[in-house]
Amino acid sequence: MMAGNELYVATALGLIFIGLATVTIKRNLIKMVIGFSVADTGVNLLIVALGWFPNRTAPIIDDPSLLSDRATLAVRSAAIVDPVPQALVLTAIVIGVGVTALMLAYVIRLYATEGSLDVSRFGRMKW
């Protein structure tokens, strides 16, 4: 049934959709930040899903004989998921953390200067 990764992709798209909908529809700044977090999670899930293969293991090699035995290695490499998306997602997560932290800092200062968390209050600069 789950030969493909439709479930992961669908979940990821769903998370992105929920996150971005929150960002565009909710007027509370903190909820917007949460929306970004959710959407980021969706993107991260999608990236990992892109490297996922059914019935394969994590890219950690636990057999020292592989060091010398290329033939076995070739076989084993067919049983390992793609390590690259996992490395990428690590970076993406950290970047997400950084942006979220900065956004929250902004929200703190915006609230301090305006006394409100309503996004529509921050539109003085326009046209």
Partner: protein, 1049 residues
């Protein structure tokens, strides 16, 4: 040779260490920071030098593995330029920002450093995911730094920017991840190769996600709202830093990404979005009242232009170095403008009235940066734009050229609108200003100086040593403002005289058209600078700019290439603009002058592009154009020159510009500058005209249209001149009208017509220069330009009276002076061509000309002397000398017209064969319609007038002398004093008669054009609602819209 890797590693290591270094004190932090940036400048500069010298592009591996397994970076010439630019900007920005916050914070310094690292990483990396990481570094650095200095507005703008930026990075990340899945690689070059093979269903959508993300990062329409807010809200110094680092880096990143888009359906989308941004952002900018917001729109527009060009770079139609010139130009000029905005501090455009009045260096910097920004020579942007346009022309994209030039014209409107305010109230503002630190101005000075590297290309394009030398002396004079004005005038006189001496015998002979115009120019310049010995300079930089102007004209005439010609033309335009604006009320007319001249310039440019698209490089090569290309080139060039000559329909700039420009400059403007479009028409347009006519046949003769334009100009302006109450305005209208006669003469396209036109060119210089100089002297002594405040000056200023008398007789085209020969030739030419209606029309307007000519004598010199003028003295001697330098040739030509006509006929014969005009003896001309003997007419007129004088003196009652107060009011309440003047509303009855013609339909038309564009801009800019969520929505809609268009194909 230092490894390019250190360009990233060193500042990064320093950034990590800065918080610790800060324990040693803030000074230590600053020194280390600046030293790091200086290290970067040296290393990047060294690399650039080597690469330019032919060294191989540096390929840098990381992790010890070649691509695509390890991340690799590249440092070629383009990268080296951008890296150097980033370090330079960061260095100067660090100086500028150091004292901008009361409580400096080491974190601010850290962020500045990392921002540079992010930009350099973006520039050098060849890996797509690595690009994403550096995009995020640049983004986060931007978000963090925009609260510098101005917290509240910075926070608001920064938040919106961050929201859209985060959405953009989601799109980019999705795009990158899917591209990896699709191609199995993250290396950009590897991916581009694989992608072209792996184009599967869905790859278009992936590329679209990446594209929309990049559109937001690049601040292109419609996703540029938050970025513009950022310019509005953040400290300008921070924005200057961003322009030099992040903005360029993101652009270069996108340039690298275009490799992925090759062959996809999005190439057109990139072109369209880029150009749309350029036009729309420039359009919205004209309605801006806030300086920094305006600069934001401008930045967006510039980026749009750059992005627009990228697909053409990929296809090889435009060189990458061309885009590079535009990038460098934008960075230097925009950063300088932002720093200036920060130093001035005023947010409102109207608050800039008289800005930097007491800081000439900053004012020069502002002017240079604006000139560079709008793409005028000699600054790099001009060369970039030119080569880009040539590429487009060769590639056969006339519509893109048209739109690009329209957008550029909008740029003119708001940038020169800004300068208009700065020049406004130049005298008013001199309040005490806070002292400036050198660290604040270092950027402005440094970057404006760097902009002058474009002079190198100017030298190549011109190839004229004399012109460059003149311009160089001019620049020195601009900077040496301590030298008193009259001494500067003397320097100018010497410099022009030296040029004339050097060119004597080579170009300065009347053997060809160029020689004629060159003679006119140099002679005019000498006369005016001689007059300048007697009048105060209107502005300290006046004579320096004047010399630049003369240099540019010399170059324009001497050069043989189209590029050299146009570069000279544009420098002539901006330098004369600066001179017009240098009088007290000159800023507004100068603005109008510049906008119309800009439009004229773009029309000319369009015409030249048609020619270049047809493979023509030189002015002489224009004759080879045929068919539709010939006609469109001819039409565009003729239209451009007609606008610049203030032909009817586009004349509204001229009267004010002539009247309000400094009295010293008007003679030159009228006598010389107005002849340059004639030079253009003569050399350039006429070279193409002949094939165009045969192409269209007699049914649609383009020269006939030009002739009517000239005729209408001559008639309309003459009519308007009659009703002026202001001596200079009267002469202004008259000047434009006279140029109309010249255009008409050229349009006849016969030897006789051309002889008449060229004869009139010389003649007009002589008598109009004379009249303007004489009037300048009167204005200088009387202090007013109004006829109603003059009168009876014949006794006080007899020499000026004689000048004016000779001037108007020549101007009116009546015997016995030289003007008559010109008119006579013109009528002959018109009749010969068979344009009888035009002939009659011209004769009629010649009669009208008597009416205003008469007023110059009558209202200024005759009648009652005002009591306040009893002690008025004759004009200063240099002015009188200058006038009589013009009187002598008028008299000589009157007696011996053949001294000029013969060489003119010879040079006309080069083009048309010999004319029907024949000379008999020394002073008789015979044409197919009759003959003309100058001496006989002279004698006849003298006899007639002397007879009349004797009759008046002997016969009839003697005239009675009345005093100034000898007026009877007869019980009426006296109206305002000027209306009591005998010369007030002298031609009121005629004015009533001509009322329908004079209603000013043309001005109304142009006002409507301005109003409509402003209304569109005003309605359009409401698109940027200021709401962060709306901006995000635009991003979604853009994806959908592009998907709808692009994926359907």
């Amino acid at each position: 040779m230092v490894s390019p890797m250190l360009l990233i590693a060193v500042p990064l290591a320093v950034a990590f260490l800065l918080p610790v270094i800060d324990h040693l004190g803030r000074t230590a932090t600053r020194v280390v920071h600046l030293a790091t940036l200086a290290f970067g400048i040296v290393v990047a500069g060294d690399w650039l030098y080597r690469l330019a010298g032919g060294a191989a592009t540096a390929e840098i591996l990381t992790g010890g593995w070649p691509p695509p397994f390890g991340i690799n970076l590249r440092l070629g010439t383009a990268e080296a330029v951008l890296v150097l630019l980033a370090y330079l900007t960061a260095f100067v920005a660090a100086l500028y920002l150091a004292d901008r916050e009361e409580e400096s914070n080491v974190r601010g310094t850290v962020i500045q450093t990392v921002l540079v690292v992010g930009a350099i990483g973006l520039i050098m990396t060849r890996d797509l995911f690595n690009t994403f990481v550096f995009l995020e570094i640049s983004g986060i650095g931007t978000y963090a730094l925009v609260v510098f200095g101005r917290e509240k507005s910075g926070l608001e703008a920064g938040f919106k920017y961050m929201v859209l930026g985060s959405v953009a990075s989601i799109f980019v990340l999705l795009g990158v991840a899917f591209l990896y899945k699709l191609t199995g690689t993250l290396n950009l070059d590897d991916m581009a190769g694989k992608l072209s093979q792996a184009m599967v269903a869905g790859s278009g959508l992936i590329l679209l996600l990446l594209l929309v993300g990049m559109i937001a990062e690049l601040k292109l329409f419609p996703l540029n709202g938050p970025a513009i807010d950022l310019y509005d809200g953040a400290e300008p110094g921070v924005m200057a830093l961003l322009v030099g680092t992040t903005v360029n880096a993101v652009f270069y990143t996108f340039a690298k990404m275009t490799a992925l888009y090759e062959g996809s359906q999005w190439v057109e989308a990139i072109t369209v979005v880029g150009m749309l941004t350029f036009v729309i952002a420039n359009l919205f900018a004209i309605r801006q009242k806030k300086v920094r917001r305006m600069l934001g729109y401008s930045s967006s527009a510039q980026l749009g232009l750059l992005v627009f060009l990228l697909p053409f770079v990929r296809s090889g139609e435009i060189l990458a170095s061309t885009v590079g010139l535009l990038v460098v130009n934008h960075t230097l000029a925009k950063a300088a403008l932002l720093w200036l905005a920060g130093i001035e501090g005023n947010e409102e455009l109207d608050g800039w009235r008289g800005a930097f009045a007491t800081r000439p260096l900053l004012r020069v910097g502002l002017v240079v940066a604006v000139l560079a920004m709008v793409g005028l020579p000699p600054f790099p942007g001009f060369w970039g734009k030119w080569h880009a346009l040539v590429g487009l022309a060769r590639g056969g994209h006339p519509w893109w050229i048209t739109i690009l030039l329209l957008g550029s014209l909008l740029e003119f409107v708001y940038y020169f609108g800004w300068l208009r305010r700065v020049f406004d109230g130049i005298q008013e503002r001199a309040e005490a200003l806070r002292p400036l630190k050198w660290t604040e101005v270092a950027g402005v000075v440094g970057f404006t100086v760097l902009l002058f590297f474009g002079v190198r290309m100017l030298g190549e394009a011109w190839g004229s040593v004399a012109a460059l030398a003149l311009a160089a002396v001019g620049v020195v004079l601009v900077l040496a403002s301590v030298i008193p004005g009259r001494m500067q005038a003397a320097v100018v006189l010497l410099a022009v005289a030296a040029t004339a001496w050097r060119l004597w015998g080579t170009q300065l002979v009347l053997s060809d058209f160029r020689g004629l115009i060159l003679t006119v120019v140099l002679f005019g310049a000498m006369v005016v600078s001689l007059a300048g010995l007697g009048l105060p300079a209107p502005r300290k930089s006046y004579w320096g700019v004047f010399l630049i102007l003369v240099g540019s004209i010399v170059a324009m005439i001497e050069t043989t290439s189209l590029l050299g010609f146009f570069a000279g033309w544009e420098i002539m335009t901006w330098s004369s603009y600066l001179l017009v604006s240098s009088s007290q009320k000159g800023s507004r007319p100068a603005f109008l002058y510049m906008v119309f001249s800009g439009g004229a310039g773009f029309l000319v440019l369009g015409g030249l592009m048609v020619a270049l698209g047809g493979g023509v490089q030189t002015l002489a090569g224009l004759t080879t154009l045929t068919g539709a290309a010939a006609l469109s080139a001819w039409a565009l060039l003729a239209a451009g020159f007609a606008v610049k000559a203030a032909a009817w329909g586009a004349h509204i700039w001229a009267p004010d510009a002539y009247a309000e420009s400094p009295d010293l400059f008007t003679p030159f403007l009228s006598g010389v500058i107005s002849k340059l479009p004639i030079f253009g028409l003569g050399v350039v347009a006429a070279a193409i005209a002949a094939p165009a006519i045969s192409y269209l046949g007699r049914a649609f003769d383009p020269t006939h249209i030009l002739a009517w334009v000239g005729g209408l100009t001559a008639f309309g302006m003459t009519l308007l001149a009659v009703f002026q109450e202001d001596a200079k305005r009267l002469l202004a209208y008259s000047s434009v009208g006279q140029v109309g006669y010249i255009i008409l003469g050229l349009a006849v396209m016969s030897p006789l017509g051309w002889t008449a036109a060229l004869y009139h060119v010389v003649n007009h210089l002589l008598f109009k220069g004379l009249l303007f100089l004489a009037v300048a002297g009167v204005i200088y002594r009387v202090g007013s330009r109004q006829f109603s405040s003059m009168g009876g000056l014949i006794k006080r200023m007899p020499f000026s009276f004689v000048s004016v008398l000779i001037g108007i007789i020549a101007l009116a085209g009546v015997p016995p002076l030289s003007g008559f020969a010109g008119k006579w030739l013109l009528y002959e030419a018109l009749m010969e061509r068979g344009w009888l209606l035009l002939t009659a029309f011209m004769m009629f307007s010649s009669v009208i000309a008597f009416l205003y000519c008469f007023r110059l004598i009558h209202s200024i010199f005759l009648g009652q002397l005002k009591t306040v003028h009893r002690d008025v003295r004759e004009a200063p001697w240099p002015l009188i000398t200058a006038q009589y330098l013009l009187v002598i040739p008028i008299l000589v030509l009157s007696v011996r017209p053949r001294w000029l006509l013969d060489p003119l006929q010879r040079l006309v014969a080069d083009r048309f064969g010999s004319s029907t005009l024949q000379a008999v003896g020394d002073n008789t001309l015979v044409s197919s319609f009759g003959y003309f003997n100058a001496i006989a007419i002279l004698v006849l007129v003298i006899v007639l007038f002397v007879g009349l004088l004797i009759f008046l003196l002997t016969a009839g009652p003697r005239a009675k002398k009345v005093g100034p107060l000898d007026i009877v009011y007869a019980g009426e309440v006296p109206p305002p004093p000027e209306e009591l003047h005998y010369a007030w509303a002298f031609f009121r009855p005629y004015q009533r008669a001509f009322q329908p013609v004079l209603r000013g339909a043309v001005s109304a038309f142009w006002r409507d054009v301005a109003d409509v564009s402003e209304a569109i801009a005003d309605a359009g800019r409401r698109f940027y609602t200021g709401n962060a969520q709306t901006y995000v929505l635009y991003a979604f809609l853009l994806v959908l819209a592009l998907a709808g268009i692009g994926l359907a194909r």
